[in-house]
């Protein structure tokens, strides 16, 4: 994430009031990565007015009519007032200053940021702040992207009909054909087969918004059997008759304890140096980890195919919608969306689809594979996601802007980190724990220039197409860089990485000096 990306407005016309004694200053206001600049018109004093953004202690914005006012209270106790032309400009500048003054990446509000992109692509969606106080859904962020035609009241009703309040929200808008990927939790149909008109309306609105006559698929990440059983405990799945145009598919993905056990067995097998080597392959197979990788990737491919090939909208959910659901939606985006394969795009994807989407990191990553404690909520869902991304990167060596280094770093930080990004289970909890003010964001740590060589893929070249992975077992590999990391000499692969970098940077040097 570059600082420059936080600068939302290039420039705006503004008047600066510096206090009763100093005369007001009119001119063009600019925000750079570290400074606020006001360059006065030619007729007034030619001096440039400059303010270090870090010296801003608090910021307050007000809008009235078609102009706005920003009040900056500085750490040196100065109070400055900026009158700015244009409401949009005011809000943009305020947000830029807000983001930049911390010098940290906590300003990153992915739903909002992602919404800006969606809004450029289509008018069918809006940003709702119905969950502003987390009362509707404790595991969702404050802002959510929903169909424009559905009002907040209907959202509240739909939330009441979904487990944990996780009503269907937009995960990814596929601009090339206007289809949408949504995620939610299971509907609370229960044994009485309850229905909810607003929930049905919401999904109908999704299809209408995409294209008249569009179809949809609901990918349930549980088996049909398990989904049926969930009715006994109040859950269930969408009844066919209630959601015209939507077809349900069951693609069971392993979750929870079995997944954790698979992980534990794999790590055990990888670390077992005594084990007779001719049994290694069947032992690896017995861990079933690669099978989980295969299932996750195929389900993501199914979702992506539904959008790209069938022109259908896709809703993904399992039970709670905080684990395998996120696995599928995030992988489907990587397959379809070239932007999510960039360094920034991928970080944003992790932030938006995992952290903000309420994957309970604290519960899932409390222990890794060695703990003797009886596992309660631990499950390596996020690790499975990283493994799948690694497989994509292996099959498409040029299409991901980041390399294995970033995936390894995310794995480490998800389990233990000096940064705050993976703390807590949801945005609500992070708010209560004041994570943003009391810790640093992982992204600002990772985006230090010195880290780049380890994290970036020097061979990257933008690939505007969907990347369809091969999911045959022959095409999937054990992620040696992670699972055999401490038992193999890492030098050869590190030298190779360094070598590629060297060729690439040398060639740039040549260009520079030419």
């Amino acid at each position: 994430m570059e600082f420059s990306e936080l600068i939302r407005t290039g420039r705006a016309q503004a008047e600066l009031l510096r206090g009763p004694e100093a005369p007001p200053l009119r001119g063009t206001l600019c925000v750079t990565s570290h400074h606020l600049l006001l360059s006065p018109g030619t007729e007034a004093s030619p001096d440039l007015w400059l303010l270090l953004l870090r010296s801003v202690d608090s910021i307050e914005k007000r809008v009235a009519g078609d102009s706005g006012t920003i009040t900056l209270r500085c750490k040196d106790l100065r109070v400055l007032q900026l009158d700015i032309e244009g409401v949009e400009a005011t809000l943009d500048i305020a947000r830029s200053i807000e983001g930049l003054r911390l010098g940290d990446a906590w300003h990153f509000h992915p739903p909002e940021r992602y919404y800006q992109r969606v809004a450029r692509e289509t008018n069918a969606w809006r940003l709702s702040e119905v969950n502003e106080d987390f009362s509707l859904c404790p595991s969702y962020p404050r802002a959510l992207i929903v169909p424009r035609s559905v009002d907040d009241h209907a959202l509240a009703r739909s939330a009441g009909f979904r487990q944990g309040g996780r009503f269907p929200v937009l995960s990814y808008h596929h601009a090339p054909n206007g289809t949408a990927l949504l995620r939610s939790s299971q509907p609370l149909t229960g044994p009485q087969k309850r229905r909810c008109a607003e929930d049905e309306e919401l999904l109908r609105a999704v299809l209408v918004g995409a294209r008249p006559g569009a179809r949809g698929f609901i990918i349930d990440t549980r088996s049909a059997q398990a989904a049926k059983q969930a009715r006994m405990t109040g859950g269930g799945t969408e009844a066919k008759a209630a959601y015209p145009g939507w077809k349900r598919l069951h693609r069971p993905l392993e979750r929870g304890r079995p997944l954790q056990e698979s992980f534990v067995r794999l790590v055990e097998a990888c670390g077992d140096l005594e084990q007779s080597m001719d049994r290694w392959l069947s032992r690896l197979e017995g861990c079933r980890w690669l099978e989980h990788v295969k299932e996750a990737l195929s389900t993501a491919c199914l979702a992506a195919q539904g959008m790209e090939r069938e022109g259908a909208c896709i809703l993904v959910h399992g039970a709670e919608g905080t684990d395998s659901t996120l696995l599928v939606t995030s992988l489907a985006q990587l397959i379809l969306d070239p932007l999510s394969r960039t360094m920034d795009g991928f970080q944003e994807l992790v932030e938006r689809e995992w952290i903000q989407a309420g994957h309970p990191f604290q519960l899932r990553c409390a222990h890794s594979a060695f703990s003797h404690a009886r596992p309660k909520h631990e499950a390596p869902t996020f690790l499975l996601f990283l493994d799948c991304v690694w497989q994509l990167g292996r099959q498409f060596p040029l299409s991901l802007e980041f390399g294995e280094g970033l995936l390894l770093a995310l794995f480490e930080h998800a389990y233990a980190s000096p940064f705050g990004s993976f703390l807590c289970n949801s945005e609500k909890e992070r708010g209560l724990c004041e994570v943003r003010t009391r810790t640093h964001s992982l992204w600002s740590g990772l985006n230090q220039p010195k880290e780049q060589r380890k994290l970036r893929n020097p061979l990257y070249a933008l690939n505007p197409l969907a990347i369809w992975p091969s999911v045959e077992p022959q095409s999937l590999r054990l992620w040696q860089g992670l699972f055999l990391r401490w038992t193999r000499p890492p030098e050869p692969s590190e030298t190779a990485w360094e070598k590629v970098w060297q060729i690439v940077t040398d060639s740039e040097k040549t260009e520079g000096s030419a």
Binding site: Q305, P397, Q474, P492, T495, I503, T510
Partner: protein, 634 residues
Amino acid sequence: MGVNLSSMRRLRKRLPLSRQVPRLPPSRVSSMASASAPKCNSHTSENEPVKSTSQDGVNCDLNETVPRLPGETLITDKEVIYICPFNGPIKGRVYITNYRLYLRSLETDSTLIFDVPLGVISRIEKMGGATSRGENSYGLDITCKDMRNLRFALKQEGHSRRDMFEILTRYAFPLAHSLPLFAFLNEEKFNVDGWMVYNPVEEYRRQGLPNHQWRITFINKCYELCETYPALLVVPYRASDDDLRRVAAFRSRNRIPVLSWIHPENKMVIVRCSQPLVGMSGKRNKDDEKYLDVIRETNRQLSKLTIYDARPSVNAVANKATGGGYESDDAYHNAELFFLDIHNIHVMRESLKKVKDIVYPNVEESHWLSSLESTHWLEHIKLVLTGAIQVADKVSSGKSSVLVHCSDGWDRTAQLTSLAMLMLDSFYRSIEGFEILVQKEWISFGHKFASRIGHGDKNHADADRSPIFLQFVDCVWQMSKQFPTAFEFNERFLITILDHLYSCRFGTFLLNCESAREKQKVTERTVSLWSLINSNKEKFKNPFYTKEINRVLYPVASMRHLELWVNYYIRWNPRIKQQQPNAVEQRYMELLALRDDYIKRLEELQLANSSKVSSASTSPSSPSQMMPHVQTHF
């Protein structure tokens, strides 16, 4: 310099820059994508396995339907139904020349479906009879040596397949019909002569031979001492030619211990030979015992000579029944013998057969890893690599000189010595170095290529056939995977070698030994595979190659770190195909070009700088600062 710069810019314009999108025709890319998507996708004919590697260097006339090499003649063509195991039946026209079997689709704008050298064919069977019912049940089933089968269906009327069957049999198995192999008809010309690559005297001189301890002997000039050895041998200085003759009598097929490689510093050596003829009675031979001691004494400080017998000990014992055996402790006091447990050619052949069963035509899905395990292929690879590592380690650590043998010393022995040499000597990791290694340890020392591959021979079930050389190349591939910067060549180089191992287009792998090749005048009458490769080296280069002197490579030979070579063994299956191979290759080519560019640029700067003698250059790209890069890495 200005001129140079503008020429560089022109070059740059032609080459896509590092950050640019690889420009592939979109239709092509999306169809590639669709081939790999899981389930519910339909394959288009574009995803057909297309064999392209053997087309290198073909000067084909675009107006002609079939590309032809100079010396290649079209024999016949016929309309057939090709039963593609992946996409179902496709109507096509098959062309048979004296070199290849070539199929064009008659359905979608005559795309090439495949182009297979006849040498690849191992077996031709008729399927169905004149009265068989059912669609496409009458035709031919062709088994290939490169992990695939080709099936054609023909019309039942008028014995239509008889012609095709006879012509194919005739040209695929020319030796059974007193016809020459295509290599002897091939009139291709290359601007490099591959036969010049290997000159034994030069190679031994590179190793610092002869020296005070080792001499070059021409005793085998007329292949009288040992028919299957090369003419030129390196033996201990202290062993007379008469000694050698007496030792030959005690070694299987007279394959006496001779030097393969010597360590440039500690002077430890790798020596190869065949098993001693101990037999049931436990015969001894003083001359052989003395000769091994002479080898040991070429390093004065050594108390023991290490003998690696590649076989499992059970097999070594069993060999006594047929007159063979191994060096016993009683007879050879100053030697230590270890068995390396590598199985014989029959076990390897059956193992590869099992690999084919699980990858072609249908890939085993549900229990892939355990099925793979049950073929034991990777286990054999592991044992071969482990053996080679032990040899290399003994020699490089200066602990001992090493003598390697198996039964006849032309299969497992060749694998072990050549792999150990590859680990020890970085010279062999360059393209030409590797060619020399193959030429020396395999071709000149009589690995029986003709018998193991069965060039032009119809006897597909011959027990002499075995994928020993393929197994060696697989080991090399495993090493190149683990050391991505250590080899000058890329995967395509290895696959090209394997393709021409069977193709019979070049003389390189024909016949069983040097004496037979000399008799047939192979170097005069055929073209070398290295001519093809060395005249177009760029295609076979690894862009990440970093030349290093004196670095010993020890691959990890644990099962955890070995992989099935999917790009070779499962390459015909479009669903398993490596993604974006074109884009990746193109990108690598770009990198190579960039690197060359960089070197050129550097030279310019050096020139410019040396002309300005007095100037204290502070430019960040001053050669003095960049020099270290060059010396260490290029």
